[in-house]
């Protein structure tokens, strides 16, 4: 039975990676339920035959018109792009979901997607005030409705006045609606306790991802050893590696220190920089603070060191601060790169080129679907700035509804306003629950033998290290996949829990992790963590041949 099961698992897992072949869904238990589809071995064979047939058709059958766009002619940089957060494991999860919907059976009744920081999908309620303003902007007839509060109406009117024809349906200026840019600048000044922010340095974007890609695009140039190198943390959010591949820049890895709560080690930055200089020209350093997927919150001292390093080595700084409101650990505080730079004095503040990114998708609003975001650009060469505006203008403008949502985030109800109480209560309850879940996740994971999890100081993820027995590592290698991919696929198949393998974010060789969000409701998170624990123990048992009490 064990052999059969393991065979089944192999075939399945191989199938998950073989994206272009339509999959027949058989579960791990599929061998036992014959009615569910062709036998596993046969399924595997068929796949082989299909692939072979396809290849030979392409090569031999002269009648078939060769396509213009094939894997051979496809932009090679597109081929190189990888994005694990929505990679093979998520596609597999989607298939299982559909299978369950169609009445198929699994050892679980639902797929829990803990792969992506999608708060609303996990049941978090939108902030009422934000949605009121967006609804008012969308359908201004509602301005006459007594059921909407005055402070929401006031904000909606102001936003609409900034829109062409007073409609969310007009294009805005490419850098965004002017009054929203001004509100953002005022918000940043307040956040940074008076450090000046010029609204003309603010650019609204389609989510933070869009801003990050745009700035990277400006920075990539040169050939061979003068090709732009981009320093990114490992583990990283794979948008960075994907963008770097797409633009054919050089990825320069600096490793975060797992033994030290994923802190950034300045010596490691020096090492990575010196090593990279041999084959490329490092010109950018990217920082994610609070960290994704690693959840650490940088200390002020650490930020100073990074900025000093960037100053010394002439690096452009990109600071991804989309989780700035998501800080849970009592001894941690968010420090913006901009504020720290300012406090380091004029020789830094007037010279280091810095772009920082923010978004509507995280924080306490979790409005991912609106694709709102902005970036603040500091010390950028004025001529380059003109080029940036030109580049943004080709895409016309970021979505107006997202810009409106951003405006509410930077300009929330004030204590003297009618909706303040409700707003404040909703905000604290979201952030309070997140803090609780951060702690719960860390605690339960650390109680599992073979799992070690750093504290989730901020952001929305845990990135625990998992021990994978050598036998499982071997099996994964035989299947041509990363060991943590094997682990996560098995977890998905057996429990319905979808997490992302650490290899999708990068990790030190021979260490294995997964990223899971802390977003499911507390009850569900408890169940989920319990299932992860049970799975992990049985996984260890299966692959190390040990009995339960030996582990």
């Amino acid at each position: 039975m064990y052999r059969l099961q393991s065979l089944a698992a192999r075939s399945l897992i191989a199938g998950a990676l073989d994206l272009c072949t339509p999959l027949t869904l058989t579960s791990l238990t599929g061998v036992r339920h014959k009615s569910q589809g062709p036998s596993v071995e046969k399924c595997g064979q068929m796949r082989f035959i299909t692939a072979e047939a396809k290849a030979s058709a392409g090569r031999l059958d002269g009648k078939m018109r060769e396509k213009t766009l094939t894997m051979d002619t496809l932009n090679p940089q597109v081929k190189a792009v990888e994005y694990a957060v929505r990679g093979p494991i998520v596609l597999k999860a989607g298939e299982i979901e559909r299978y369950l919907e169609e009445g198929g059976t699994k050892p679980f009744s639902e797929v829990i997607k803990a792969n992506i920081g999608d708060a609303h999908a996990m049941g978090q309620q939108p902030i009422t005030f934000l949605r009121q303003v967006v609804a008012l902007c969308t359908f201004p007839e509602l301005m006459d409705s007594p059921s909407f509060p005055e402070d929401a109406k006031w904000r909606a009117r102001r936003i609409l006045q900034g829109c062409g024809g007073h409609s969310l349906g007009s294009y805005s200026a490419s850098p965004g609606v002017e009054c929203i840019r001004k509100d953002i600048a005022a918000y940043i000044e307040q956040r940074d306790e008076g450090v000046p922010s010029d609204w003309e340095n603010i650019y609204l974007t389609t989510g933070a991802s869009d801003g990050i890609m745009t700035i990277l695009r400006l920075l990539v140039s040169g050939k061979d050893s003068s090709r732009t190198g981009v320093m990114i943390p490992i583990p990283q959010y794979p948008l960075y590696s994907a963008a770097i591949s797409e633009m054919d820049a050089v990825q320069v890895n600096y490793y975060l220190d797992e033994d030290n709560c994923w802190a950034l080690d300045i010596n490691e930055l020096h090492r990575a920089y010196q090593a990279a200089k041999q084959h490329c020209q490092p010109r950018v350093i990217c920082i994610i603070n609070p960290g994704n997927p690693t959840g650490q919150v940088q200390s002020k001292k650490c930020i100073e060191e990074v900025l000093h390093f960037a100053y010394e080595e002439n690096l452009f700084v990109m600071s991804d601060e989309v989780y700035q409101d998501n800080v849970y650990a009592p001894d941690c505080q968010f420090h913006s790169f901009k504020k720290v730079l300012y406090e380091m004095g004029p020789e830094y503040f007037s010279s280091v080129e810095l772009v920082s990114f923010h978004s509507t998708s995280k924080g306490y609003t979790g409005e991912c679907g609106f694709r709102g975001g902005y970036m603040e650009v500091i010390n950028m060469d004025p001529e380059v700035k003109a080029q940036l505006v030109k580049l943004l203008s080709v895409r016309l403008c970021p979505p107006l509804a997202g810009q409106a949502a951003m405006d509410v985030i930077v300009n929330p109800p004030q204590p003297e306003e009618h909706t303040f109480k409700q707003f404040h209560q909703e905000k604290s309850s979201v952030l309070g629950a997140l803090a609780e879940k951060a702690k719960l996740t860390e605690q339960i994971l650390n109680s599992v033998p073979g799992i070690k999890c750093n504290p989730v100081q901020g952001s929305m993820y845990a990135f625990p290290r998992i021990f994978i027995p050598p036998k499982a590592v071997e099996e994964a290698k035989a299947l041509g996949m990363q060991p943590d991919m094997l682990y996560c696929l098995r977890l998905l198949e057996e429990t319905g829990i979808c997490v992302v393998p650490g290899s999708g974010f990068g990790q030190k060789d021979r260490t294995y992790h997964f990223r899971m969000t802390i977003l499911p409701s507390i009850e569900k998170l408890n169940v989920l963590l319990g299932k992860v624990r049970d799975f992990h123990i049985s996984f260890l048992k299966e692959y190390s041949g040990l009995e339960w009490d030996e582990i």
């Binding site: 994005y83 990679g87 294009y171 920075l219 007037s350």
Partner: protein
Amino acid sequence: KDSKSGLALTSLVPYRQDSCIALASQPMHQRSFTQKLHSFMNGCEYRDRVLTMDTMNPNVKRVEYAVRGPIVQRAVQIERELKMGIKKPFTEVIKANIGDCHAMGQKPITFFRQVLALCSYPDLLEDSKFPEDAKSRARRILQACGGGSLGAYSTSQGIEMIRQDIARYIEQRDGGITCDPDNIYLSTGASDAIVTMLKLLVSGEGMSRTGVMISIPQYPLYSAALADLGAVQISYYLDEDNCWSLDISELRHALQEAKKHCSPRALCIINPGNPTGQVQSRQCIEDVIRFAAAEKLFLMADEVYQDNVYADGCKFHSFKKVLFEMGLEYSEKVELASFHSTSKCYMGECGFRGGYMEVVNLDPEVKVQLTKLVSVRLCPPVPGQALLDVVVNPPQPDEPSYDTFIKERTDTLATLAEKASMTQEILNQVPGIKCNPVQGAMYTFPRIHLPPKAILEAKEKGQVPDMFYCMKLLEETGICLVPGSGFGQRDGTYHFRMTILPPKEKLKIVLAKIKEFHQHFMEQYS
């Protein structure tokens, strides 16, 4: 001079010596150099900027996008000057540079906005003022969203239910030709999808670098994207004397020329035309498809103006429908992507950045790559997706909102048709302006005769002659148009693009002002 002061700087500041020496030996831009010197004088240590015009991605430098180019920046400046009380020969700037309907006063379709408001704030589902058909659509959309919220990410390809609705809509539009929802990708406006498809297509080096055929005049998104991607632009000229129609022999000629230095792999068509307003005949589309099949070109059909057809005798034919009616020989092999958007037609909802593309005959492996590529950007804005859903699934005759919806839609399209013919008539009355009929889309692209003296003066100023003309028009009348050079035109011809979107009364004034300006301009320079 530069290098001298650069050396002086080196001796003053031992710190960062390498870069100062490098600076001294390199030609530097005057302004940024003085700036650096200035910051040095202020006591700050000198530090090279990382990102300068010299170190920036060279492809970005080559990107040009006239629709929001220098003339529009000047228009914004003038608007500010007016606000500050500076006297001008006009009281407002009229932006006829961009197809932005709502900004020009067009009203949104009530039903669409009702559904979107309901989706944004579902408490309104209890409000009796909203019609039931709007509520049922909002409920259906929300059910398809994660957690029943517009605030959740959708799948990267777009919400499945919306893709199904779009597929049904396309089937209906195309008289029953099947459409697979799996071939639909929602996008952030049509521009996003166009850039994504081009990104897939670009490969090779030197002679084998991808060439992309685009019409001239074209919508400058295409030239901008090609510059950004480092692809080779292959221009084919539309026939101005023949209502801007597409001439197959011109396609052939352009292709043969291009084959000498690149590998032509895609052909872009804009129908109805932007900026040229022509509507392609069925025959012409068949010819294009045959050409693409014979030359193995990937077809990209930009059909965002598909509902904007005004001229009698003209009809919109989708590339997909024509392709499938040409028989299996074509429908099974020609690779096609067609694009649509919420920004144009009668909706004019530009700000929502809604759009989709349908891909036909795309290699399955490439499709996986496409899905992967779009996943990096997570998903298109969900409000835009919701809007698109209502556009493809509007009120039906038996529903309460039907009458209002039809009335609003008909009014909008009828007004546009009226403005199209009015624009053409008035412009053609002006000596020195010749305007083809505006059969469709939202623009007129008249040819303007510029006297040699004006051309000379423009050249002296280092300006393209039609830019010189449009700048002058802006300064004197407050009307903002885009010079033809931003779209491409035959050498020695000059045009401008103006939208037909201002309200009728305003449009009349705009046209009268242009007439007066043009006459005056001709007098001044002849």
